[in-house]
Symmetry: C2
Subunit: 416 residues, 2 copies
Amino acid sequence: MKTRDEALALDAADPLAPLRGQFALAPNTIYLNGNSLGVPPAAAAQRAQVVIAAEWGEGLIRSWNNAGWFGMPRRLGNKLAPLIGAAHNEVVVTDSISVNLFKLLSAMLRVQKQRDAKRRVIVAERGDFPNDLYIAQGLVKQLDGACELRLIDDPSELPAALQPDTAVAMITQVNYRSGYMHDMAALTQLIHARGALALWDLAHSAGAVPVDLNGVGADGAVGCTYKYLNGGPGAPAYVWVPHRHQNAFDQPLSGWWGHRAPFAMDPAFQPDDGIGRFLCGTQPMVSLALVECGLDVFLQTDMQAIRDKSLALTDLFIELVETRCDEFPLRIITPREHAERGSQVSVAHQHGYEVMQALIARGVIGDYREPQVLRFGFTPLYTRYVDAWDAVEALRDVLANETWRAPEFAARVAVT
Amino acid sequence: MKTRDEALALDAADPLAPLRGQFALAPNTIYLNGNSLGVPPAAAAQRAQVVIAAEWGEGLIRSWNNAGWFGMPRRLGNKLAPLIGAAHNEVVVTDSISVNLFKLLSAMLRVQKQRDAKRRVIVAERGDFPNDLYIAQGLVKQLDGACELRLIDDPSELPAALQPDTAVAMITQVNYRSGYMHDMAALTQLIHARGALALWDLAHSAGAVPVDLNGVGADGAVGCTYKYLNGGPGAPAYVWVPHRHQNAFDQPLSGWWGHRAPFAMDPAFQPDDGIGRFLCGTQPMVSLALVECGLDVFLQTDMQAIRDKSLALTDLFIELVETRCDEFPLRIITPREHAERGSQVSVAHQHGYEVMQALIARGVIGDYREPQVLRFGFTPLYTRYVDAWDAVEALRDVLANETWRAPEFAARVAVT
C-alpha cells in the first residue's frame, strides 16, 4: 500500500465497518490495545444504569431471581459458547481466569490420578503468560509434591515433554508477547495420543480468531472477557468443560453457587450436575452484566468475517512497517504465516518502552512487554485500515525524529 | 412503644438520620434485607458512569495506572480496615468470600502443618452459612485426607472440639440464620490457648457491629462488601491477615496480582511481601469501584454510633413483635442479650415462607431461610424507627387477615 487513500478505500468496502458505531471510542485516539483491554460497547453505560438504579435500587434482593442475576454466569456462558465452539451448558462466565485455571488444573490432575497414579505432571510453556505458570506453581506447592510442572522453551519440545507421567498440557492458544498462534487441533490430537488432557487458555484468541473447542476435542478451557470480547476492565472470566467430562471433574473451589441446591442450606456440598459445578461464590453483578454488551455485538457477525478482517489488518500493518519504517532497527516477531498468527503484531525495538510512550503521547495506544516488545492489537470490530496506516506513520515519525528520546518517555511508571 | 408517633420522635432525634439521604432508596418500600444485599449509595450510579465513560472509555488501558485500578484492592482495603479493627496494609478487597476463605484456610493449614504435623483439623459450626463448610469440604477433598473438618452443633461444644489435632477454628461472628453473635475476644483467646488459629467470617457483622480484629488478636478474617457495607450485588469481598502472619502465610491461588513484581513477567512466582500476596487475578473494576461509595458513608460516622442505633432498632422490633403480634404463633430466635445479637431479628413461623411472600407483596422486604425463618435485617445507616413500626404492623395485618394463605404466596420460585 502506498497511500492513505487506499486504506480509506478498504474501510469503505469493509462489511464490518458499521459495527464500529456500537463502541464508545475515545476521540483523537488510535486504539491498538484491544488485545489487553477492549473498549466500551456503546450500550455499557446505559446497562450499568439499569443494573444499579432499577435492578439493584428498586428490585433489590428480588433481582437475584427477577433480573436473572443468579443465572447470569450460565446465561452469558451460553451466549459466549458459539464464539469458541462450545455447546449449550458447557460454559460459565465467573471469577478470574486465574481462579478458573486453578479449578480446571485441580480437576484434571485429580481425574488423571484416579485413572493412572503416575500421571502427575503439568506441561506448559516457559514463555506463556506468567500468570498461568504462577497458578500451576501454587497448585504444585499446595499439593506438596503430588504433582509437578514441566516447562518447555519452544513448542517443538512438546512431543518430547509429553511423557507417560503427563497429566495435563496447559497451553495458551495465542502467545501474549509474540502473537504466535498454536495449531489447536494438531496439538490436542498429540496430547491425547500421549494420554494427557488438553487445557487451553483462550485469553488472546477468543473473539479474534475462530476457536472450535469441541471440534478439536479439547478437554477444558479458560479465557477472559475483557480483551477482544470488550467486557470491561477485569470483567469476570469464563471456563469451558465439555459435557463428556463435566461430572467427572471435581474442582476444589466448591462454593455454594456450584451446589446442586444452593438454597437448600444443606451442610454437605453436592456438586451440580454439569457446568454449574465450576461456579464458586457470589459474582460481581454490575461488572458481569456488562459482559453481555460486548457479546451482543458478536451476534451481529461471525468469527470468520472477524478473522478475515483481522488477517487483512495485521497483514497491512506488517507490510507498512516493512515498507515505511525500513530504515529503522525494528524486528517483527509475530509470524507471517496466517495459521500461526493471532490478532496482534509485535515489533521489537531496543528502546521499545520509550518508543511506545512516545506513540501513546501522540494518541496511538499500543503497549509494551519486556523485553523490547511493542505490541499492537487489532480488534476487527472497531479498528479501521486507516488506523493501521496512521499508526505506522506515527511510528515512523517517532523514530525519524527520535522523539522517543525525550526524558519524559524514559521514566518507568511504577504500578502500585 | 404504643404509637407510631413515638417511632417518628425517635427518628427525629436520631443522629444518624441525615445519612439516610446518601442512599438511593426504593419508593414505598421498607427494606429490611440489608443483611443480605445493601441498598445503592446515592453516589454509585454516577461513579459507575465515571468508571465506564471516563476511566474505561477515555483512559483506556492507561487507567490501570492513572485511575488507580491496579491499586484499588489495597486502597479500598485500607479504607475498610478501621471498620473491622484492622491496620493499614492488612486488608485487600478482592475475589469472593468463598475464594478468600479457600486462600486463608489453605495458608493456615500449611503453616500449622509446618509447626506441628498432627495439627490437621478445621473446626467449624454445622449451623454456619453452608458455603463456608463447602469451601472447607472442597479443600479437605483436594488435600486427600491431609486435613479434616470437624463440625460442632452448638457453640458450647467448641472447647471440647479444640483438640491437639486442631489447626484452625473457622467461625462466623454473626450467624446468618439466627443472628446470634459470638464473643470474638473470648473465643479467640480459647482457640489460641488450644494452639489453633482463629479464622473469622465477618459477612454478617462488618458494618453493623464494631469488630476489633487486632484487639482480639485474631489470625485471619474474610467478609463481604455487599451486605451492611452496601458495595453492590456480588461486589468483591475482602481478606484480612495481620502483619505478624502475612509473610508466613502462603496461599495457593498465587496469581500475578499477588506477585512482588507483577509486570516483570518472571516465570517464577515470588509472593509479594505483605497482604498483596492474598491477591490473585485481575479484578472486576466497575463492581470494585462501587465498593468505595459504600465505604465513604461510613467515614462520616463511627461503628459505636451504628451499633447503638442497631441495638435500639432490633430492641424495638422485638418489643413490637412481642406486644403487637402476641396472638400469633411467632417465635423470636435471635438472642435478647445485646452481647449475643448481631443486627437482624429472626422470627420463626410454621408458614414462614408464605408470610414473607405476603410481606414482600406489601413492600416490606425481609427474606426467608429454611426452615421457617423470617429474617429482618436492620441497617442503621438508612433504616428508621418508623420502618420497624410499620413492618410489624404489616406483619400483624398479614397474620390477622391470613393474607399469607393466598395461593400466590405458596409457590416456591425456582432460582435458576
